[in-house]
Amino acid sequence: MSKGKYGYYDPEKPLENRITDIGPPHYWQFFPPIIRRNYGKWLYHEILEPGILMHVSETGEKVYTVRVGGARLMTAEHIREICDIADKYCDGYVRWTTRNCVEFITDSEEKARELKKDLESRKFPAGSYKFPVGGTGCSITNIVHTQGWIHCHTPATDASGVVKSVMDELFDYFKSMTLPAKLRVSLACCLNMCGAVHCSDIAILGYHRKPPMIDDEVISKVCEIPLVVAACPLGAIRPVTLEDGTKTVRVNEQRCMFCGNCYTMCMATPLADKEGDGIVILAGGKISNRKSGPKFSKVVVDYLPNNPPRWPEVTKTIRKIVEVYAKHARKYERLGEWAERIGWERFFELCEIPFTWHLLDDYRLAYDTYRTTTQFKYTDHVWKIAEAVGGLKK
């Protein structure tokens, strides 16, 4: 590869020897030989122990996979260590999963177990595992997440730090397969949802709670005002001309639900704030079509504060939901399926989560979420209403 400031590239002649539109390298060259030989010939699989998968092919070959959790944010040094391990045990092949775990694929069970031992022996000087093995079957696997404060310009919370805190809390569930079904946790640090957490069993979502500030001085220079106006899904932004002739916008603060889309379109409308920002917890989503169809995650906690470095309110809430789910759900029941079976009112009661007015939907199509049957369960929520209307005692 090139060295020096510009390397092969000549800024004077940017088109010389330029190669474009070549796409990714062809995947076939990155398959271990055993994967090539058995491509499309797999018969069945089995999880031998947490973190070790066995796939059996119709050719009679068996392939063993060791799955490892990772922080997603990985340095060259970390990935070089992964390469060293892959060279030693896997003939120099390795893969990442859609949930950002690392998978080492070998052709013998013995090697897989040896590999697991090696991986678990590697720790950072301060004590955390470099390569914890787990994340298979009825477990919690890696939390898919976005950038947060470490590299994004719109976040309402951090990502890597929250995920580290939550995964430390849920570590036993990563290492074992004791849950009623798989449980997928995801994090997106703002409503833009690069993390697409809207269909996760538990979703951690960064959220702003203050309307944007308008930077009158620069807005007309750095943004197209009609685009800023059009950016608001609730029509809360209107163009104005100030007395001194400055063209800018004003926000109808009652209408703003803090999505930040205006800020995405225009840097002159920032909304991040120390006290305003925090985390919303959603629960009960899934993407698989298994048994029940895919479901959206539902908002179950309207706000938890950003309390770095450990986000204790967030980790506590999530642990509680996971533990209650683990205790009460039936075998094969995903979190959302369980909540639907017992009723969401029971979910809130069992998880000891207060039901606030923010959980009554007020966005378009909200009516679809309203209860229009007398089939409900009695929980404390009902007695509070009865009391409020003077109807508790006969």
Binding site: P24, Y27, F31, W96, T97, N100, S128, T154, M193, N289
Partner: protein
């Protein structure tokens, strides 16, 4: 188009393949330039007490990881790096400041890219440039990941050398769309990185902005018994064919293709893709009755052993399979499992519970669903069934024809930042189905028929049209 002659560049099974030795930047001494002792003693230039809390606990600590990269860079020295030596230290320093301020310190925006491309690079600048000069510019490069994210170490080591030498040595493995992501490059290094990526590694940038985002797929036939389409091949072919759309934003907003081999949707196409391609079958579930009996007898653990760590009692096929079938199309008489396949909705629960006894059919194709997206702007949507079933074959011409119909319409009618799913809502599913896809409507496209009868009829659908004479009407109905 296409990486001609490069298909086997890194193929270790092919003679003369490229190895790490052919492209490496750093020597072995440079790669192993610190000891465990030095790492234990190492302090970065900022105080980061809160972040150091995140070094405790069992889960891999990104702080510990960034520290070792910081030490490695220090020992390499600026003479061996094109990016700033102290960028990992300043990155941690700025993050600590965010932990105090509880706000991000990255500026908004910065139009930036490589020559001729509109996507693939995302500009990022610190708003604390005096305090953290090594990350004043810290741009993201999205690099098109190989299908299903398999790598060999020669290629991966090459990637890491360039990431460290010209960037910051920090990656995301992987970004949300699936790309291999380099975090943190200064502006003047973007072109040299792109040059090395294309020339020496044979890889291109991925998508960002209002274009086709880097398509991604599940593990597919590489290591899954349930893949009913060749997800890798489809993903690769569609990525290569639409390179122009991937690199040069011409759309109203982002557009995503995701390829799932089966309805389990491991790559979450149904929740995230504007066009979700999901493998499925149309014949009968294959049954090995012997193996079913083995499950019932407790000889094989259910669900591939996924419940191994908890005692759920003996396997009960009636309770765990028959009663949980959403179509209620299965029967077990104690000896034989019967499936009424024409009633099956292919949820795959029974197959997942007894993978050694049941397998999807052999007559396979795919469903295409449209319009999934996250909440911004008009609320979250899941993909809706557009094409319940179709066959396709490489080079997938019948699918490309659909893609182009959809794009033509969306590019013509879509508003700025309007995803396909939102346009379908705004125009109505019926118009999308009948006028854009030009296919017959079907009950498979809805959960239930509409409950309101506010139906639009077109004039040509009603005998005699809409033009009538009020005078003729009054002859029958005097005022």
């Amino acid at each position: 188009m296409a990486a001609e002659g490069q298909e086997k560049m890194w193929d270790k099974e092919v003679e003369g393949h490229r190895t790490y030795e052919d492209i490496r930047i750093f020597t072995d001494e440079q790669l192993h330039n610190y000891t465990e002792e030095e790492l234990k003693e190492f302090k970065i230039k900022h105080d980061i007490p809160m972040l150091e809390e995140l070094e405790k606990g069992p889960w891999p600590s990104f702080v510990s990881d960034l520290k070792r990269e910081a030490l490695h860079r220090r020992k390499l020295g600026q003479e061996n790096l094109q990016g700033p030596v102290e960028c990992c230290e300043d990155l941690l320093g700025q993050l600590e400041l965010s932990y105090i301020d509880k706000e991000t310190h990255w500026k908004h925006g910065g139009i930036i890219g490589v020559f001729g491309y509109g996507g693939g690079v995302i500009g990022r600048y610190s708003d604390q440039q005096e305090k953290f000069p090594a990350i004043w510019a810290f741009h993201t490069l999205r690099i098109n990941q190989p299908a299903s994210k398999f790598y060999n170490t020669d290629y991966l080591r090459g990637l890491m050398d360039i990431c460290e030498y010209r960037g910051s040595g920090v990656t995301n493995m992987h970004g949300s769309t699936g790309d291999t992501v380099f975090l943190g490059a200064v502006t003047e290094q973007l072109e040299p990185i792109f040059f090395d990526l294309t020339h020496d590694l044979g890889v291109d940038l991925g998508g960002s902005g209002s274009n086709l985002r880097t398509p991604s797929c599940c593990i597919g036939k590489a290591r899954c018994e349930w893949a009913m389409i060749d997800t890798q091949d489809m993903c690769y072919e569609m990525t290569m064919y639409y390179q122009d759309e991937l690199h040069r934003p011409a759309f109203p907003y982002k557009f995503k293709f995701k390829f799932d081999g089966c309805p389990n949707c491991c790559v979450a196409s149904i929740a995230r893709a504007d066009m979700s391609y999901i493998g499925t079958w149309k014949d009968e579930i294959r049954i090995d009755q012997e193996a079913v009996r083995a499950y019932v007898a407790g000889e094989i653990p259910p669900n591939g052993g996924a419940f191994r760590d908890r005692d759920w009692g003996p396997f009960d096929i009636q309770k765990e399979v028959i009663d949980l079938c959403p179509a209620q199309c299965m029967e077990w008489d104690g000896k034989e499992l019967k499936i009424d396949n024409k009633e099956c909705v292919r949820c795959m629960h029974c197959i997942a519970v007894m993978p050694r006894a049941l397998r999807p059919g052999v007559d396979t194709g795919l469903s295409i669903l449209f319009g999934a997206k996250a909440p911004i702007l008009e609320g979250a949507q899941m993909s809706l069934v557009g094409i319940p079933f179709m066959y396709t074959e490489k080079p997938y011409d019948n699918i490309k024809a659909i893609v182009e119909k959809v794009w033509d319409w969306w590019m013509e009618e879509g508003k700025n930042r309007e995803r396909l799913g939102e346009l379908i809502q705004r125009w109505g599913l019926w118009r999308f189905v009948t006028e854009i896809l030009e296919i017959p409507p079907a009950p498979q496209m809805v959960k239930e028929p509409r409950s309101n009868p506010y139906i639009y009829w077109k004039e040509e659908e009603v005998p005699g049209g809409w033009k009538r004479d009020i005078k003729e009407f009054r002859k029958r109905h005097p005022r």
